[in-house]
Amino acid sequence: MKDLLEWLDHRTGYKLLVHEALNEPIPGGARWRYITGSMLTFAFVVQVITGFFLWTAYSPSTQTAWESVYYIQHEMAYGWLVRGIHHFAAQAMMVLLGLHFLQVIWDGAYRAPREVNFWLGLVLMQIVIALSLTGYLLPWDQKGYYATKVATNIAGASPVIGPQIQQIAQGGAAYGHHTLTRFFALHAGLLPALMVVFLALHVYVFRRHGITVPPHAEGKPADTFWPKQVLFDAVGCLVVLGIVLYFALTRPAELTAPADPGEDFPARPEWYFLFLFRFLEFKEISQFGVAFGAIYIPTLLMGIVFLMPFIGRSKMGHYFNRGFLLAILTGITILTVMTLHEDTHNQSHQAKLKFAERDAHRVVVLAKYNNGTPQNGARELLVNDPFSQGPRLFARNCSSCHRFDGHDATGQLILKTVDKDGVKTKVPELETAADLKDFGSREWITRVLTDYETTFKPLENAGEKGKAIQTGEMSNWCKENQKVLTDPANADSLKALVEFLTAQGGRKDLGEFDEKLVAQGREIFKGGALKSGALSSSCTDCHAMTVANGTETESLSDGAGAGYPKLTGYAGREWLKAFLRAPGHADFYGEKNTMMEFTEKRMSEREIDLLVDWMTGNYIPNPSH
């Protein structure tokens, strides 16, 4: 063995190399504070390793990027772990970069003769930022897509050649396949290569000048790099790894819904760029244009940082540098906290985030259900999914009158701006029709039967016609029968009637229907006889109803004519669709109708199907767990 190593050394001289690497003297002895550089390098190495493995499964195109990342995250063995490590190590790198930078400035390690190395460090910093920016887009999810769009638009706002830079970065006038292939080539090819080159230079120059020893350590006995400092460094790396693993194991790396240029997203940059995002929001900044806040000012600040070695030649200069850095860090902290605080208290933003999460979760359910994603990309899964599109269609078409659990079905409150003594405030807009959250369910039908007036209370805001419905015949019937229906002795009768009516919709999302109850309910519906007492008039006195009887249909009643809603298939898919298309039809409200008619001009066949399928629970179920 020894001979072999001698032989190798003879030909390569590796022993001197190892000797130089490990026996670098550390004046004043090994110290914990020297470990940040090694931790940063370690984080980079972790990124190279995990990045390579992710590369083996990633496919950069607009129809496969999200899909392959989904596959890595949700299907492949340990994909979630490798991606999680990559995701959180990237963030660790940002934190370590900040620490390392802070330490260099604080300890004055940037001063002569270490200026060049300081500048090499600044180059490395830019490379890390570029890596973070390019990596963010690669999953091609809504978050990365919109956040990166902001970044490339900022590049586009650069003076003179901005638009050209943007087009070159994007690989065209708009985002597409080439945006991904280019970002990927930068992220996995050029940038890591530059990183290695500059890191090598950084370490080389660092070795040339040695470590910057704090004054109180001067005169203490020297160590060599090996083994004590190596141990310190390794422990530091272990801490980094531990934190990264903790996050990777406890929270999966986020993957929002597939990028969709037609759907907005509450985009925010990753947390370490939030300050810049908030900075650009200030009116005082934005009034000068995007380039001012996003390019000129950061360039100016970086310029000052670049000049720090010269500024820091004097003691005062060094203090200035420290103060400058502290000011920047304080600014960044304040802006970050401000953004987080504002976002947390922004109901609309939070609702959008929640709705986006709903999409992100849903698309995975659909991909798993279908045993794969469509050839045209996973976006199609959401586009054709009632559960995803229903609330959007409701918000667009229904929420000006109706509410869904108090909001517009996507979580947004319906507000209007009022001018009160010159102060503009947002207040809830009055709803003019019922809240449809549980439309057609047992609860809904129970409410309609026992408390019609409250269920349709919003109609009182809908003018005379609305009020006429709210306090009309059905409301009167309800008042007459409220007592007998809510009598505990009739609890079973009410349950049966509700079960019968609910079953008419044929919905599959409301659980099994109790056939016995349905049969009992049918008799009550027809005759009005309850366990204790009877209804003032039976349902069939007014409402037309045909029920399924085996393979045949059986007419229970022809009803009292136009304007008394026909209850055949009540609240089911077909009933609701017909109702939406023509609520003023004789089968529904007739002349009493106050509701908008959703003709094909207003809502296409496809849209109305998606909406109705969502409202009637006719979609691929979400696994309950």
Binding site: N23, A77, V82
Partner: protein, 192 residues
């Protein structure tokens, strides 16, 4: 503050390590190696396991069962082989493909009404064999494997006969159970 700004050591200087206490140094070295090993190995192991996904995880999505191959009327009655492509829904990694060509087979209608179906992949090294009418054989252009029309080897190149497949006729339609087998082995081992 920083002391060594002006008198940094020359690059050629190689300092000898301080003598130190050998035992403590040994312990430190050992700990450094162990810790360094752990931090280095964890990402490599995680990535390595991920890379082994193809053998760690059973993938669903391959075609299975009988696939429609041809109408019986398309098959020559004299036993001449014809090549047909088979289609199926398959999942390739994340993508679900509908009705995608997954391979091709030779079909022969024998005088007794029996259907012979061969996977047209050469059992030697996996090229596609061609039917050569003049020599009444299946011939592989890669390494000159030749098979007779019953699929039996005509020379020493192929390790086994052509892989025959289960074929059925239902209502005048020929269905084939498409399978691929390992090449280069005398045994017929299905690849899944």
């Amino acid at each position: 503050m920083a002391n060594s700004s002006s008198e940094s050591p020359p690059s050629t200087h190689v300092a000898e390590g301080p003598p130190g206490e050998p035992r403590r140094n040994f312990l430190t070295s050992l700990l450094a190696m162990i810790t360094g090993g752990i931090v280095g190995l964890v990402p490599v192991i995680a990535g390595g396991l991920f890379f082994l996904d193809p053998i760690l995880r059973k993938r669903a999505g391959g075609a299975s069962g009988l696939l429609r191959a041809a109408d019986l009327s398309e098959l020559p009655t004299d036993g001449t082989p014809i090549r047909v492509v088979l289609r199926s829904d398959i999942t390739d990694a994340w993508t679900l493909y509908r009705n995608r060509v997954i391979g091709s087979v030779y079909l022969r209608l024998m005088p007794n009404g029996q259907i012979l179906a061969f996977n047209d992949t050469c059992t030697h090294l996996g090229c596609k064999v061609d039917y050569q009418a003049a020599d009444q054989q299946f011939f592989c252009p890669c390494h000159q494997s030749a098979f007779d029309l019953e699929g039996k080897p005509k020379n020493e190149t192929p390790p086994r006969m052509l892989d025959d497949l289960v074929a059925e006729v239902k209502n005048g339609v020929v269905f084939v159970e498409y399978k691929n087998y390992r090449t280069g082995t005398p045994e017929k081992v299905a690849v899944q």
